[in-house]
């Protein structure tokens, strides 16, 4: 073996502290050393040309480069090795600048340390193995779970660049939560109108042929990994042929069976054959088989008789399980609200006229249960309304974080209440106020300046007691440690904490994507990679990752499409780093310790062979499993036990 050693002087940066000639004397003669060369600036254009040429002339078997930190130029030098026909992994860098020359006062000591670390690198590099990136074919198609703002934005931007996208949506309609809101903060835009262009682009826009919309569908199984997932989808029957239905709604009026409308939180009823709310898209009814008389085995054909299109209603439709291949999966399932019944002193679920913010949104909506009229349970317009902020939020007994959106919609309610019911008295009970952003302050300022609006701060949600008194809600609150006060209102609106959806844990389990401590889908990194899950190829968009407003959800929708478009390119293979773990099945005892320590679910256990195996697509090369394996059966490529041991020996020679 012939090892070439290069020492970069880095101008005076290294030369001033490390005596190249002494290092040469110490290094030449060590086993394997073919030559030693000190160069002035190895990373300069001239230096790189020299290195490339010299490697071609000298043809060393291994290379040691003592220079700056490998975090700066390891890739630069690896590329030069590769271009000179030497496997780039047959190199080891020694950090003699940041970790020796710049921090060691005594020149003799610095020189001695450099020589010692070079000798350690020599021992290590002699064990290096040529490694190469593996390339795999990828499927550029994408699967999006959830058809709210984030999922649709992601689907649309990927479809626009020619990707085939399947959207899996649990409900019969698309648009997520905002299509149910008449007006949106901060600028009082109409929710359905704002989203309409996105929705119609998805349904029948220029690129909609790239989008497959699967409503009433759920992902129930996933196999494979980044680049090549196969997702199993359960598709419930709509009992309507989407191609044939013209959306005339003739069927709905004649339907004799009805049930609570869950899209209006049970505040009114809908038919067995129904569109959840006027304007819901796609404009195709669906039949609820738990309510429909015919599907429950009774005689009824009223909808069939009313339908002007032959064959549009299909009682013979069955549940299907289908499969889709996708290179990446985007989770955009959204979030839910904290259960206000867990704070019984607020009266929710016990007293009439106590609503959640989401229920109140529906009441404000012209396509909602009251057609946009704010009415108490007695059918009267309220003269006073209390809005409770921070319900369950910033509370170690409930939800510790601030959801960041509630204040803003609370002030939107303030504005709409004043507009719809001039003179109405409004009380904001709040723990903290949060209205960040360049537009968001306006609704707050408006509420602050409104003479009919009162702000009352509370310390703890248990300091508030909502009771019923003479047809009104009496709210008892602490004014100070000793004094209490009360106000009496006609209606109470609660702004609960935004929380993960109840079934997000199930979906997380299916995808293998872990939850954070609150139950949201956990991001790879809170700031750097908030739209990437811990599992490669599974991306997160919108409130499934953290509470967020529409703007952020849309932005994340774009962000995930960026990951997909740059990472999975049509016709380009996926490069898999060879710096990963490899199991030797001969040595593996099947104890599965590695499976439990791997943070990336990259190791699986084969019960037939009784051994573990690493999926190199998912493995990130951290080496945790290598250190954990009691049988020494896992090799950490480029950081093998032998290589590290050799380095230790070299240091302590």
């Amino acid at each position: 073996m012939r090892i070439g050693v290069y020492l970069c002087n880095c101008g005076g940066n290294i030369k001033d502290k490390i005596d190249a000639e002494k290092v040469r004397a110490g290094v030449l003669g060590l086993p394997g050393v073919g030559y030693f060369k000190a160069v002035d600036f190895l990373c300069s254009e001239g230096g790189k040309d020299f290195l490339a040429g010299d490697l071609k002339t000298e043809r060393p078997d291994r290379v040691v480069i003592a220079a700056c930190t490998p975090r700066e130029h390891e890739n630069t030098f690896m590329k030069i090795l590769a271009s000179s026909g030497i496997n780039p992994y047959l190199m080891q860098m020694v950090n003699v600048r940041e970790q020796i020359a710049w921090v060691t006062e005594d020149k003799a000591m610095a020189t001695e340390k450099a020589a010692r670390l070079i000798s350690a690198a020599l021992r290590r590099v002699s064990l290096h193995e040529p490694l190469s990136k593996r390339e795999i074919d990828v499927c550029p198609d994408v699967l999006v779970i959830g058809a709210g703002p984030a999922g649709l934005k992601a689907a649309l931007s990927m479809a626009e660049s020619g990707r085939r996208v399947s959207i899996v949506e649990k409900s019969p309609v698309i648009g997520g939560m905002p299509v149910r809101y008449e007006e949106l903060f901060p600028s009082m835009e109409c929710g359905p109108c704002m989203l309409e262009p996105v929705l119609s682009e998805v349904l029948h826009g220029e690129h909609s042929e790239n989008i497959e919309l699967l409503t009433l569908s759920e992902a129930v199984g996933v196999i494979g990994s980044y680049g090549n997932f196969t997702v199993k989808i359960k598709k419930r029957p709509r009992y309507i042929d989407a191609e044939k239905c013209i959306g005339c709604a003739e069927c709905i009026g004649v339907c004799p069976a009805s049930a609570e409308n869950e899209f209006n939180y049970g505040m009114n009823e809908r038919k067995a054959i129904y569109v959840p709310f006027a304007g819901a898209l796609p404009n195709i009814p669906s039949i609820d088989e738990t309510v429909c008389l015919r599907l429950k085995g009774k005689e009824c054909s009223l909808c069939l008789d009313a339908c002007p299109v032959e064959g549009a209603i299909r009682f013979d439709e069955k549940e299907q399980t289908i499969e889709r291949n996708a290179g990446a999966v985007i989770v955009a399932t959204g979030s839910g609200l904290y259960d206000c019944k867990k704070i019984p002193n607020l009266g929710y679920g016990r007293l009439s006229d106590v609503y959640t913010g989401a229920e109140f949104e529906r009441m404000l909506s012209s396509n909602g249960p009251t057609e946009g009229n704010i009415k108490t349970s007695k059918g009267k317009s309220p003269k006073s309304v209390a809005i409770m902020h921070c319900v369950g939020s910033l509370d170690k007994n409930h939800i510790e974080y601030c959801s960041g959106i509630c204040c803003q919609y609370a002030f939107k309610f303030n504005h709409l209440l004043g507009k719809k019911l001039p003179g109405v008295r409004i009380f904001h009970f709040y723990k903290e106020l949060a209205v960040p952003g360049k537009e968001e302050f306006e609704l707050y300022a408006h509420a602050k300046g409104d003479p009919n609006t009162t702000f009352i701060r509370y310390a703890d949600i248990t300091d508030l007691k909502v009771g019923s008194k003479g047809g009104k809600k009496a709210i008892l609150f602490k004014k100070s440690a000793k004094k209490s006060d009360s106000v009496s209102v006609d209606m109470v609106v609660l702004c609960p904490a935004v929380v993960p959806l109840p079934d997000s844990a199930k979906l997380g389990g299916i995808l293998g994507s872990p939850a954070d401590r609150f139950g949201f889908f956990e991001e790879l990194h809170g700031r750097l990679d908030a739209s990437q899950s811990k599992i490669k190829g599974i991306y997160l968009a919108g409130a499934c990752q953290s509470p967020m407003d529409i703007q952020s959800a849309m932005t994340q929708g774009m962000a995930v499409s960026g990951y997909v478009l740059s990472g999975l390119v049509h016709g380009r293979k996926l490069e898999i780093s060879p710096v990963c773990a490899v199991v030797d099945p001969e040595k593996c005892s099947g104890c599965r310790v590695c499976v439990s320590v791997c943070p990336y679910k990259a190791i699986s256990y084969d019960p037939e062979k009784e051994t573990a195996a690493v999926n190199d697509v998912l493995c990130q090369g951290c080496g945790t499993c290598v250190a954990a394996c009691p049988s020494g059966a896992i090799k950490g490529n480029h950081f093998t036990t032998e290589e590290i041991m050799a380095e230790i020996e070299g240091i302590l020679r």
Partner: protein, 142 residues
């Protein structure tokens, strides 16, 4: 060298935080004693307890394991594994009669060059005070 005992210490540093923190000490030109030689691993979770034992066996007077702060590990939780292994190592070293001050674990972020220098200084000082580590063989029968 002044004739004073100069301990040999091996430092296992993870690539993402502590190795970067050590680099930052360099960029900041903060001097520290040259006694610690750094072995880079991708994550502190790669530090196999046998590396530490081998270092002592081959003549190290001390070992330092540096990791990302809890919650900051580039690979999520490798540092927690390292912490567990360090605890185990301390128990083992105690059984062997080796002072626990010779085997240090700490967290250094990429920005904490000052903390890095302090850990190096403290460890070098502590190990210097303990004196040279006597190889395992001479502990037998103790």
């Amino acid at each position: 060298m002044s004739g004073e005992f100069e301990p040999k210490i091996v430092g296992f540093l993870c690539n993402w935080c502590s190795y970067a923190g050590a680099d930052k000490a360099g960029t900041a030109q903060s001097p520290y004693p040259p006694n610690v030689s750094i072995v880079k691993v991708m994550c502190s979770g790669r530090v196999d307890p046998q590396f530490v034992m081998a270092a002592f066996d081959k003549g190290a007077d001390g070992v330092i394991m540096l990791a990302c702060h809890p919650g900051d590990c580039h690979y999520t939780e490798g540092n927690l594994r390292a912490l567990g292994r360090h605890r185990m190592l301390l128990r083992l070293l105690e059984q062997l009669g080796i002072e626990k001050e010779r085997c240090v674990m700490d967290y250094v972020s990429a920005g904490e060059s000052e903390k890095f220098v302090k850990v190096i200084n403290d460890t070098v000082r502590a190990v210097r005070e303990l004196g040279p580590f006597r190889p395992f063989s001479s502990h037998s029968g103790k």
